[in-house]
Subunit: 201 residues, 2 copies
C-alpha cells in the first residue's frame, strides 16, 4: 500500500516590476556577457564589452516550479538589462520549446521590449511588449525577448512544466531570421544575413 | 495529401487593470445576480439584492484561446465587482479543473481579493491577491476568487487549454469548506456549516 499523494501546496509569489525580483521563487539563472559569445553579429563590439565587463548579468530569470508533467506550470520573471552590442540590443538567447507544441504567455511588467517570434517555415514577427501588454506565443514559434529601451525590461512568463527549451535551434540556424537593431533613436527589425533557415525535423 | 498545418499566429493582448478590459480577447462570459442563486448562504439578503438588481454583471471573464490541447494555454482577465450578499463578499462560483491535475496561475492586477483553495481531502487555504502578487494553484485544488475590497478585483489568469472546469463539485459539497465574510471592516475566513465534504472520485 502506498501513501496517498498529497496535493502540492499553492504558491504565493510577489512581483517587484522595477527590480524584477520574484518573492517566493525557487529557481534562478543568470547570463553574463562571457556566456553570450556568438549571440551578437558585431564580434569586435562584443569583445570590447567583454574587456570592460563589470561582471553583472546581462539577464536573469527567477522562476517557480512545484509540479512536473503536463498539469504543472512554470512561472517566473525574466529581467533584461538595457544595452547594445554594436547595433543590436541586449536580448535573450531565445528558444523553441523542446516539446514544440507548448505555448507560453509573456506579460510586460516594466521597461520597453519586443519579442521576436519565428516559425521553422520562415515566418517572422516582432511584437511590442510594454507594461499592460501581453503576448501569447503559440506552439511551434521560436521566440526571444529584446530590451529596446533604456530601463530594465521585465516580463512575467508562464508555460507548461513539461515544455523544456531547445536553444540549439537558433545557433544551428546562424541566429534568428530577424535582428532587432537601433535606428534613429528607436528600434527596427532587420534581416540577419547569417540566418540559414531553421532545421525542419 | 493534406496541406501542412500553419502555426497559430501569436496574439497581442492589452490589459486595462482598472476596467478589466482585455484588448485582443476572443471570448467573454458574464455572471449576473440571477445566475448566482444558491451560491450565498443568506437567502433573504440574496433575494433583496435580486429585487433591487440593476442588471449589471457581478463578474465577468474576458479570455483569449487560439489553441486546443495540452500545448495551448488559455489566458484572460477575471473581473469581480465589489459587494456582499449578507456577510459574504462577492465571489466567483469556483471550480476544480475537469482534468484535475491542471494548474492555474492568477496575477493580481487591481483591487483587493483573496483566493480560496481547497483539496478534496479537506485542506483549505485563503491567500491574498493584490496587484504585484500572484498565486499558483496546483492541480487538485478547488479554487474561487473573492473580492474583499471596495473596488473592482481584477486578475490575469493562465491555464492549460485542455483543463476544463468542474463547477458542480462545489454545489454537490454544499459550497466550499471556507466562507470569506466581512469582519471588523476587513475579511475573515469562516467555516461553512453547509459544507458536506467533497466527493472523492
Amino acid at each position: 500500500m502506498t501513501a496517498p499523494t498529497r496535493p502540492t501546496p499553492p504558491v504565493q509569489l510577489t512581483l517587484s516590476p522595477g527590480t524584477g525580483a520574484l518573492g517566493g521563487s525557487n529557481g534562478r539563472y543568470e547570463k553574463f556577457l562571457p556566456d553570450l559569445a556568438g549571440l551578437y553579429r558585431d564580434r569586435s563590439a562584443y569583445d570590447r564589452l567583454v574587456d570592460g565587463d563589470d561582471g553583472r548579468p546581462v539577464y536573469w530569470v527567477e522562476s517557480s516550479q512545484t509540479e512536473d508533467g503536463p498539469g504543472g506550470l512554470i512561472t517566473g520573471v525574466s529581467v533584461l538589462e538595457p544595452g547594445r552590442v554594436g547595433e543590436e540590443f541586449f536580448m535573450t538567447r531565445g528558444h523553441l520549446h523542446a516539446i514544440s507544441d507548448r505555448s507560453e504567455l509573456y506579460v510586460g511588467l516594466s521597461g520597453e521590449g519586443v519579442m521576436v517570434l519565428e516559425t521553422v517555415d520562415g515566418e517572422s514577427q516582432v511584437v511590442e511588449v510594454r507594461p499592460g501588454q501581453a503576448v501569447y506565443v503559440p506552439g511551434q514559434w521560436v521566440h526571444r525577448s529584446v530590451n529596446v529601451g533604456t530601463e530594465r525590461f521585465v516580463t512575467l512568463f508562464c508555460y507548461a512544466a513539461d515544455a523544456g527549451q531547445d536553444y540549439s535551434i537558433i545557433e544551428e540556424a546562424g541566429g534568428m531570421k530577424s535582428l532587432v537593431v537601433a535606428r534613429d533613436g528607436g528600434w527596427a527589425a532587420a534581416d540577419n544575413p547569417d540566418h540559414r533557415g531553421y532545421r525542419a525535423d
